[in-house]
């Protein structure tokens, strides 16, 4: 599995989970292991004081970040993907090298922002990942706009964004989804319902805690899936992308999951989060589940899994070393780049 066949360019019909091939299942496994290992390492670095700012982890939500990204086409002419801050894995799948993720957390020059922005505010045209902003839901209209561009040009590309339950309270969620529906653009919206927005439980955010029902209010076909089952997320995503790519308008997927840690590394979530719920969801860990399914349902050899895990270990190790060795951008860089120069993008158009 040296170059995982992680991109699907033909559009398969709705795929029930068991129909996911072993090869794809292992691919999903690789990405989930890589994501988990990257985040664990980053959290350690944060605790050692090596990362400025704070650190946000998506631990426990990897089934979503991976399941939604793998069905997409990558590269500058591929699909637009604007993942939420819990979705480190999406960045990796869509092409961002691991070391640049670490460089980003460290604020180094090799980050995708040259250190101008932090945490998962990562992006670049080479991957067709816009650089997300902090302001929740702001990326939703942008994603609709990218989808509109593809529709205008008659390209069979889709635009995808993910966001938390908290973001559904914001006006830009509403305006973006409504416009997407009316203009019938090829956009896919992935809601990650982890039941918390910082310290606020979903019951205090909305009376309609099934987020997919909100999409129905815009006339957007919507489904809910078990967000801790990567095969389910993957299958739902394949179907939604298929639908959008075929010009049949936007789609919405609600992934039901749970936030397994504090909002950020500095958040003492023990003060407000019921521990029983945490324990309960801990048993549903998406990585454990996939591993079990690979072993039990697909009879994958343990050595194969171990091979993936050790490859990941090396990759993460090398990535951290490279990021560590990277320097900060020269301070003069702070002055540069407010405006694009005339002719921007002309050469690579």
């Amino acid at each position: 599995m040296s170059t995982p066949a992680r991109k699907i360019s033909a559009v398969p019909p709705p795929t029930p989970a068991p129909a996911v091939s072993d090869e794809t299942a292992l691919d999903l496994y690789y990405w989930m292991v890589l994501t988990r290992a990257t985040e664990e390492r980053a959290l350690n670095l944060y605790r050692q004081g090596k990362l400025p700012g704070s650190y946000y982890t998506g631990r426990g939500q990897e089934a979503i970040s991976i399941g939604m990204a793998v069905p997409l086409r990558s590269g500058p002419d591929g699909d637009w993907l604007s993942p939420w801050i819990r979705d480190l894995g999406s960045y990796l799948v869509h092409g961002v090298p691991v070391w640049r993720m670490f460089a980003q957390f460290m604020g180094k020059e090799g980050s995708t922002t040259q250190g101008k922005d932090g945490n998962l505010h990562i992006g670049g045209r080479e991957w067709n990942i816009p650089c997300q902003v902090s302001h929740m839901a702001d990326m939703i209209p942008l994603t609709v706009g990218a989808a509109l561009a593809y529709k205008q040009r008659g390209e069979d590309r889709v635009a995808v964004t993910s966001f938390g339950d908290g973001a559904t309270s914001r006006g830009d969620f509403h305006e973006g989804l409504n416009i997407a529906a009316v203009l019938e653009v090829p956009a896919v919206f992935v809601a990650e319902n982890n039941r918390w927005a910082y310290t606020t439980p979903i019951s205090k955010q909305t009376k309609v805690t099934d987020l997919y029902k909100k999409a129905l209010g815009y006339g957007i076909p919507a489904v809910e899936v078990d967000g801790n089952d990567v095969l389910a997320v993957y299958s739902a995503m394949v179907e939604a992308v298929d639908h959008a790519r075929a010009g049949r308008g936007p789609r919405f997927i609600e992934c039901k999951t749970y936030r397994m840690a504090g909002h950020a590394a500095h958040d003492k979530f023990e003060s407000y989060m019921p521990m029983e719920l945490l324990a309960e969801w801990s048993d549903k860990d998406p990585l454990k589940r996939l591993e079990q399914s690979l072993r039990d349902d697909r009879a994958v050899d343990e050595r194969r899994l171990e091979g993936i895990r050790s490859r990941v270990k090396d990759e993460v190790h090398e990535a951290v070393e490279r990021a560590d060795a990277d320097g900060f951008a020269d301070p003069s860089e702070a002055h540069l780049g407010v405006f694009a120069e005339p002719g921007w993008g002309d050469d690579d158009a």
Partner: protein
Amino acid sequence: MPELTYLEAIRAAMHDEMEIDERVFVMGEDVGRQGGAFGATKELQQRFGDLRSIDTPVAESGIVGVAVGAAMAGQRPIAEMQFADFVSCAFDQLITCAAKMHYRVGWAVPMVVRCPNGGGVGGGPYHSENVEAWFHHHAGLKIVCPATATDAYGLLRSAIRDPNPVVFCEHKFLYRRVKEEVVTGARDGLLVPIGKASLLRQGTDLSIITYASTVQLALAVADTLAAEDVSVEVIDLRSLVPFDSEAVLDSVRKTGKALIVHEDNLTGGFGGEVAAVIAQHAFEHLDAPVRRVAALDTPIPFAPPLEREYLPLEDDILAAARDLAAY
């Protein structure tokens, strides 16, 4: 060469850019068949189809956000606000997404937000705002404020071609009130570069620095004062970001006196920035206090006598200029 009103010039600029660049499209409330509240996009839908002239729901934040995304995905959107005032609802998208994207990640956002701007038309507090000063603080947005039909045409074409987000403040009062021959045409139409002020009248005693609706007033004042043997230089800034500070400083260094005029209210208006630059960089040449004439620091009242009181009028400018000249 056709004689065009300021409004027709705006329409022509969009039309001509759409002719030569398939990526250019317009979007906004009622812009399609109707051609917008003022007719600026009239017949563009009929000519270019409904994927290039898009009627949207009433959702300014969504409209601007969609434009940002489309721009990043390679299109050249022109988003119309029905009135400039409503861009308040899109403030976040403009400063958070549009303005900061290129700085952060080197990805350009070539788009224009057209804002029918300004007062003097009995529109009251919510249909008369001058919005340019809502944005000049935020690095990453260009701000253009034409005063003539030629500049409206040439600057809008440049704005559409610019790889950056441009807030295009077109003054409603001028829409049908100014008119001139304009060199149009998809291939041969005039381009006016963004960032260059225009020296409309040379003078030696006093510089009036202004833009948009007050340009004509400044020229009238210059005429009046010429008869009193006062020689007034008039500079039309045309764009606030980039700000052509050299043109302003050159003029003030020559005349020694600066009068800054805008229709927007005084406090926090762009005039403060101009005055500050002069006070720092032309200090040694100043022979008099730097003066500003602007609207009241209030919302814009509706009733005609109150609106007149609110706006800076020709007489206010004349009085200030006379004062300065006599200083």
